[in-house]
Each structure stands twice: as C-alpha cells, then as structure tokens.
Symmetry: C2
Subunit: 166 residues, 2 copies
Amino acid sequence: MAQVSSFPELAMHGLKDIYSAEQQALAAYPEMIQAATSDDLKLAFSEHMEQTKAQIERLEQIFQNMNETPGGVECLAAKGLIAEAKEHIKEIESGPLLDAALIGAAQKVEHYEIASYGTARTFAEQMGDDIAAQLLEATLEEEELTDERLSDLAIMNINPDAADEI
Amino acid sequence: MAQVSSFPELAMHGLKDIYSAEQQALAAYPEMIQAATSDDLKLAFSEHMEQTKAQIERLEQIFQNMNETPGGVECLAAKGLIAEAKEHIKEIESGPLLDAALIGAAQKVEHYEIASYGTARTFAEQMGDDIAAQLLEATLEEEELTDERLSDLAIMNINPDAADEI
C-alpha cells in the first residue's frame, strides 16, 4: 500500500481493494460452478456470478463519479481465499463433500466482502457521498443475502449429503 | 491441505484452520493495541485479545474431546489479513486515520472468523456433536458482537475524527 495520509485516500484504497477482490471472484466462479455437483449450488454460484458483474459496475460508477480509475491494487486476502477454494477442488473428489467445502470457502469470500463493503459504505457516509453510500449498501445487502442462501443450502441439503457420503 | 475424504476430516481441517487464525490474531493484538491512539479502540482491542484467549481454550477443549491435537495447518488467509493490518501501521501515521484503518482491518479478521465459526458450528451440528456446536456458537456470538462494537466505534468516534484530520 502506498503512503495514505487522508481519509479520502484511505477510502479510495479500500474501494480499489474490493474492486480487485470482486474481479478475482468473478474469474474464479466458472471453475467453482463446474466443480459443484449439486444443481442448487451450481445455480447459487451462477446467480451470484451475474450479481458480481453488476456489483463491479456499481464500483466503476463510483470511481467515475470520483474521477478515479480502479486498478493498481491487488487484494491479497481475496487471492488467498480463492486459492483455498481451488485447493479444495484439487484435494476433494467431486460430490457432496466438495460441495460442502466449496460453500465454506465461498462464505469466507462473502464475509471478506461484507466487511469491506461495510467499511466502504461507512466511509462514504462520513464523507457525505450519498450516491456512493447507497450503491455500496445495495451490494452489501446482496452479499449478506448470498451468505444466508449458502448457509441454508449447506444446512438443508449439502451437509446432510456430505455426512452420509462414504 | 492434505487429501480430505470424509465429512469429519473436512470439519477437523476447518477447526485447525481457525485455531491457526486465532493464534495469529492473538500474536498480532499487542502491536495493534500499541498502534491505536483512541483509548476506546485500545480497550476494544485489549478486551477482544482476552476474549481470544478464551476462544482458543474452547477450541482446545473441542480437540481434546475428539482426541485430536491442533496444529499442522497454517491459515494463510489470516496471515494475509493480519499482514494488511501491519501494513497500515507502517504506512499511516499514528492518529485517528490509522485507527480508522485498523478498525477496517480488524473487522476483516472478525468476518473471516465469523464465516469460519459459522461453518464449523454447522458441521458440528450435522455430526451431532452438541458440545462442540455450543462452544463454537458461543465464540461466534462474541465475534459478531466484537464486529458490531468496532462498527459503532468507527461511526460514532473514529471516522469523524479521521475525516477531520489534516
């Protein structure tokens, strides 16, 4: 991270970090969709991949409104979290057990995004940037709903199947 | 990660991962407490450091009940998240701006833990291990409260001071 000496600079660094995280997540989804066995999980991942594209557009709108360009920051945390998901794909055979592992990995990415968007939204509110705050809040709510959907899927379907697997 | 071929193995891997994350967080707290300027933030970090010790003991109790030992897994995500906090300490001068950055970094760690404990608790419930599920749920609730406390502190005190800083 470059030297940060003002609140708007800190906020901008956070936005670039989450932009990088979203781009990495978007690139990883096709492999996760392919690796999943459950149709419900494939659908949840596919729908969130489409949502991620719209979330990236919201971020681009914020950058444009601020006369900034995204890029220049690589989110290392997202890199590590996505590497964990890919490791599961390598180490676990396809089936409910891999599905359960993929849900856990995806929820870690969701929670990284929840924390990041929460901070970014609060920073935007502090700076009186209502448009950015609303865009970030909209994405935050989508991430929270995705996390809940994955929890429900794990509890109701995937974990029971994974625990029964021989 | 070693080959994982059963649900209990996947659950055990998750517990070892979160044990590593907690140990890393515990080791990082003294530096974060020292770097913080706000007395309220120093207190929040200090109290959560003490809480973390009790959370580690809960995990050790779970390992003992399962005749397992922790260790052997290094949580790379926690390593990256904590490195981010330390980077802030290097790149930002002490004061409200650094405090705001540290809260954001700490909330990312909290959310990593929320996702991890959420999955671990759900796995324990699936395996019918009520004692482990209750211990993990107790920690999960503490992590969620810590996250909320940090949000409140940011919104009410730290961010306004950081935004006013010249």
